[in-house]
């Protein structure tokens, strides 16, 4: 068993499932005001993250209780921890701060997606003026991520079947060389998926179906984006 089988394949599958989990339908809203307050706290007040943590924790508990939400959250948190390891060497405070922000905004984002559904969110964004092309790309993003990983998996298996050496060093070489063609393939696929979305529905959804929770979520998302951009400099 090589590196791909042991590490990349399960990670690939987990990521794929996490991406697809984002796709699910809306459920009745729960505590939208609490959500909004927590979102504000986590994004605008992250400089003082211990204080934010107190506000974010109810949402995190809610997210962690849901099996479908737990997985994407865990995968994102693990990724975040790995990529921020170099920061740990330099500054442990920044490491905790960074991971806290990633964790809290992912938890809140997942809660938001579960509130109105990914579709609801995209349609609401479209309604408030997001260009249709970007809305289409956003809508197909979770499934396209899955498709991208599926293609990566197929590519590695095809190389293996043709007797390629997939030792640690060779595997990384292969991934590095494949990323360009996979990206091009991904772009073509996203374009087609956006055409399918256009043809099959996004154009004829009306915003009438998305009301109170959607409005709250869109406001919250806007605040969240601002908060992430400003990164705690508001306090």
């Amino acid at each position: 068993m090589n590196l791909f089988d042991r590490v990349l394949k399960p990670l690939n599958e987990e990521l794929g499932e996490a991406a697809l989990a984002l796709n699910y339908k809306s459920r009745p809203p729960k505590y939208p005001w609490l959500y909004l307050a927590s979102l504000l706290a986590s994004t605008a007040l992250t400089a003082n993250y211990f204080f934010s943590a107190i506000l974010v924790s109810p949402i995190s508990v809610f997210v962690l209780k849901d099996r479908r939400l737990r997985k994407p959250l865990a995968v994102t948190a693990a990724f975040s921890a790995v990529v921020s390891l170099p920061i740990l060497v330099l500054n442990s405070y920044k490491f905790v701060n960074f991971n806290f922000r990633v964790f809290s905004s992912t938890a809140l984002g997942l809660y938001l997606a579960s509130l109105v559904g990914w579709d609801g969110l995209v349609v609401a964004l479209k309604d408030v003026g997001l260009p249709t092309e970007i809305a289409l790309a956003l809508r197909s993003l979770p499934s396209q991520l899955y498709s991208f990983l599926h293609d990566l998996n197929t590519l590695v298996i095809a190389r293996k079947a043709r007797g390629f050496d997939l030792s640690y060093r060779k595997l990384w070489e292969l991934l590095a060389t494949a990323i360009g063609s996979l990206l091009v393939k991904g772009m073509i696929k996203s374009h087609r998926a956006s055409m399918a979305l256009k043809a099959r529905g996004l154009a004829f959804i009306t915003s009438k179906r998305y009301t109170f929770p959607t409005i709250i979520s869109v406001i919250a998302l806007g605040v969240s984006v601002l908060g992430v951009v400003l990164g705690g400099r508001l306090v």
Partner: protein, 255 residues
């Protein structure tokens, strides 16, 4: 009542459509033939108003195509994976119905009905990306047939299907009418109109028998067809092909 594309010009790196015009009448089965890479899929995208044309006009029932007309035109892509964006087959098929505002109960019954027609009831709760190619094709078709668009455009619907699914798909499409791009000559006897896309332009084949005689259709004929045409003549051969198509689809083919 027709969906028409008039004088369409479109290019990727070079021009693919150079003044192409085509019309699909409601309920009619038309097939579009053309060599590989001739732009058949592009023509379907253009007809469904999914491409920014350099020049040209799309009309639906005599009026210019509007955004709200999209629900009247369904398009099934050649590669089914290109049109998936949902977690389960059920959600994939239900997507347009939900977008159109059908109730959960209606959505469920319509999805199950179309799935049963295509024999994919057992796939409803599976991930569409994890199915076989043939199953993906059936799911892609179901996701469009379910909302009963007035005009249906289908890109290579029967490639890579097993014999049972092949007949099912053919009969479902032939029954309701569509514009079908294909390389499979089995569609020929069923079609009421045959178009060929060559050098960016569409021409209608008025006399299929003559085209078979001249070998001027841009599709490779199977050896069995060649033998039939050679021994019995194109007219009798076409009759036999019609009979074969009748058996395959359990439908009355066009005369």
């Amino acid at each position: 009542m027709a969906l028409c594309l008039e004088d369409a010009w479109f290019k990727y790196d070079e021009y693919v459509l150079k003044g192409a015009s085509i019309c699909l009448s409601e309920g009619e089965l038309a097939i579009l033939l053309g060599p590989m890479g001739s732009g058949k899929s592009t023509l379907l995208y253009a007809l469904a108003n999914l491409l920014p044309l350099e020049k040209g006009r799309i009309t639906l029932d005599g009026e210019p195509f509007r955004e709200e007309d999209r629900k009247k035109v369904g398009i099934v892509f050649q590669d089914p994976e290109d049109q998936f964006f949902n977690v389960t087959v059920f959600d994939e098929i239900a997507y347009s119905l939900r977008a159109l505002g059908f109730s959960d109960h209606e959505v469920e019954s319509k999805v199950k009905a179309v799935a049963s027609k295509l024999g994919i009831e057992n796939l409803l709760y599976k991930n569409p990306f994890k199915l076989s190619y043939g199953q993906k094709k059936l799911v892609a078709l179901a996701s469009v047939l379910v909302y009963e668009p007035k005009y249906l455009l289908v890109d290579e619907p029967t490639s890579n299907l097993d014999k049972v699914s092949y007949g099912k798909v053919m009969s479902l499409i032939a029954e309701r009418g569509a514009l079908v791009t294909t390389h499979e000559v089995d569609w020929l006897p069923l079609a009421s109109k045959v178009y060929v896309l060559e050098d960016g332009k569409v021409r209608e084949v008025k006399d299929v028998v003559k085209a078979l005689k001249d070998r001027s259709l841009p599709v490779p004929l199977p050896t069995s067809w060649e033998v039939l045409i050679e021994t019995l003549g194109p007219e009798r051969a076409l009759d036999i092909m019609r009979e074969k198509a009748r058996k395959l689809t359990v439908l009355k083919p066009q005369q």
